[in-house]
């Protein structure tokens, strides 16, 4: 259970929700993960998968101004677009309301030592911000380029600008047209999330030697790998493990638990 701190419409149909996690939500999310969110009791039936947009642990300040040993307030943010019944209900929630968040679920974006390029399209930018922030925290001097494409209106751009070396925004066109990938090598890593055509265009554009990750979406029921509802066909069933990619020979990947992050080879 979490309590809503704010739930603001930052662009037409786009909301930024901040919730405070209570003590029972123990896990700390990693970039790329998602939560199953519900802001209602029984109806609609299923919870909705929403990516971690941001996460912060804020120390509570004690009366004498010190933060030493103080408990932390854990604030999780979601950036979401109203597209149907569930997201409409989320948008109606007001400050102070309870919302149920189960998670974090799914695998994470890889730890990147390379130069990093993020390409987001529309609401697909949601999972990229927390990744960008984490990358910047861990690698103060390395290059972080961000491309954000929107159909009609840009949003959240200023947040990305705070952490990136460059942010390129496109509204109404093809974000891939704005990308210069001529110098890309195996010293670069690309992560993309957005509509399928955009991700395909990105994958087509990035040279083969540059590792490229995509974050996928699928209808989900369980979010934990139990229902097999969210599978995508994959040429081989790859899994990211500490030993690299492994496959058990079956033809599907589960977006919720094998993913949502996949190397492009898995899904191309």
């Amino acid at each position: 259970m979490a309590v809503i701190h704010k739930n603001d419409e930052i662009a037409d149909g786009i909301f930024l929700m901040e919730v405070e996690l209570d003590d029972e939500d123990t896990g700390k999310p990693e970039p790329g993960q998602f939560y199953m969110v519900r802001g209602w009791d029984r109806y609609p039936l299923l919870s909705r998968p929403i990516s971690v947009f941001d996460y912060e642990e804020l120390p509570c300040v004690s009366p004498d101004g010190s933060t030493e040993g103080a408990p932390v307030t854990r604030v999780l943010s979601f950036l979401y677009q109203v597209v149907g019944e569930g997201t409409e209900l989320l948008a109606e929630l007001s400050e102070g309301s309870d919302v149920t968040v189960e998670g974090p679920f799914g695998n994470t974006f890889p730890e990147v030592e390379n130069r990093l390029t993020l390409v987001g399209g529309g609401i697909g930018i949601a999972p990229l911000y927390y990744l960008a922030k984490s990358y910047r925290r861990d690698h103060r001097d390395r290059s972080l380029k961000i491309y954000l494409g929107f159909a009609e209106e840009s949003y959240a751009v200023a947040l990305f600008e705070e952490v990136a070396n460059s942010v390129t925004v496109d509204v109404g066109g093809f974000i891939t047209d704005r990308m210069d990938v001529s110098g890309y090598s195996d010293q670069d890593t690309v992560v993309t999330c957005g509509p399928a055509p955009m991700m395909n265009a990105v994958m087509a554009k990035i040279p083969a030697q540059t590792k490229t990750f995509v974050s996928l979406e699928a209808r989900m029921a369980c979010g934990v790998g139990a229902c097999l509802g969210c599978v995508k066909e994959a040429p081989l069933r790859w899994k990211m493990t500490d030993e690299g990619l492994v496959t058990d020979g079956s033809v599907h990947v589960k977006v919720c638990s094998d993913g949502p992050v996949f190397e492009r080879e898995v899904v191309e």
Binding site: L45, G225, A226, C230
Partner: protein, 301 residues
């Protein structure tokens, strides 16, 4: 005193709450939320002789208080279960049922034979999956066919066999009786109703397989009716399911005659749903000072 304990085919269950096949993976997926040992038991994802990739296309579609699924029995095959999965889960300290599907008689029988190698307590014979083209539900639609496959499976299995019935059968009570006569040790019902979705935006039939399996709170009134009908017609024990979400739902199915209940779709909406059901039943039995098993079949007119 454990007021929720039930016996089912000689197995002692801590409580009658069993997670339904296909909604609980192989028992470890929900372990991050709670220890599966808190459950009465669970039924595995449907297993078939050969590994199956399942259906293509969209597999899930939400409906008012319900869920359509077209998974199509995706599973790693019986050998992978016996050789790899079973050793990993067999000590979970909860009742494990192996749910078995098939595309024809021989594939059912061979799968069941291979389960003779392990000490699985109960086989749940799935003759009611609406999501596969061959076999599946076809065996569960008519008394004769259901009886025949049950008898043959019983002949090759060293384990007790619980037959899972399809709500799509016209003569469900006939099917239930035929299974009982053929030697079924128990019955479970209901599997999913057959449903359909069309996406008005695209004018497309949503599922590649056209029709899909329908479950969740929406189906509860139909499921409860069927469990009541079947419990009135057979003497073997029944696991009741279909839309169970709250402890009150669970209690109603037991009042209707079910010895145990299963929870499927409700666990998607709330991973803790089974624990809430167990807690609620416990408090109820405490307040009423009853043993839950004494309420089985006690619904009155």
């Amino acid at each position: 005193m454990n007021r929720l304990a039930v016996d089912f085919l000689g197995n002692h269950l801590k409580n009658p709450v069993v997670m339904a096949s296909g909604t609980y993976g192989f028992g470890t997926e929900y372990a991050r939320f709670y220890d599966p040992a808190e459950l009465g038991g669970f039924s595995t994802k449907g297993l078939t002789l050969e590994p199956r990739p399942g259906n293509s296309g969209i597999r899930l579609w939400e409906t008012p208080s319900g869920l359509l699924n077209s998974i199509g029995l995706e599973n790693p095959g019986i050998d992978d279960f016996v050789g790899r999965i079973w050793p990993e889960i067999k000590d979970l300290d909860t009742l494990i049922l192996a749910n078995v599907g098939g595309k024809d008689e021989e594939s059912y029988l061979e799968a069941v034979r291979r389960l003779n190698d392990i000490d699985i307590p109960i086989i749940e014979l799935n003759i009611s999956c609406p999501n596969v083209k061959a076999g599946g539900m076809a065996y569960g639609m008519e008394p004769d066919k259901a009886g025949e496959i049950t008898e043959k499976v019983k002949n090759v299995s060293r384990h007790p066999v619980m037959v899972k019935l399809s709500p799509n059968a016209g003569d469900l009570v006939g099917v239930a009786k035929a299974c009982e006569q053929a030697g079924a040790d128990a019955l479970s019902l209901i599997n999913t109703l057959q449903g359909m979705a069309i996406d008005w935006r695209t004018k497309k039939i949503v599922f590649d397989n056209t029709y899909a399996g329908f479950s969740g709170p929406a189906v509860k009134p139909v499921a409860l009716r069927m469990v009541h009908q079947v419990c009135g017609a057979v003497d073997i024990p029944v696991m009741g399911l279909g839309g169970i979400t709250t402890w009150q739902d669970a209690l109603e199915f037991m009042l209707a005659g079910a010895s145990c209940i299963q929870i499927g779709t409700a666990g998607f909406a709330d991973p803790y749903a089974p624990l809430a059901v167990i807690d609620g039943l416990e408090r109820y039995c405490e307040d009423e000072d009853v043993m839950l098993a004494d309420l089985i079949g006690k619904a009155v007119k």
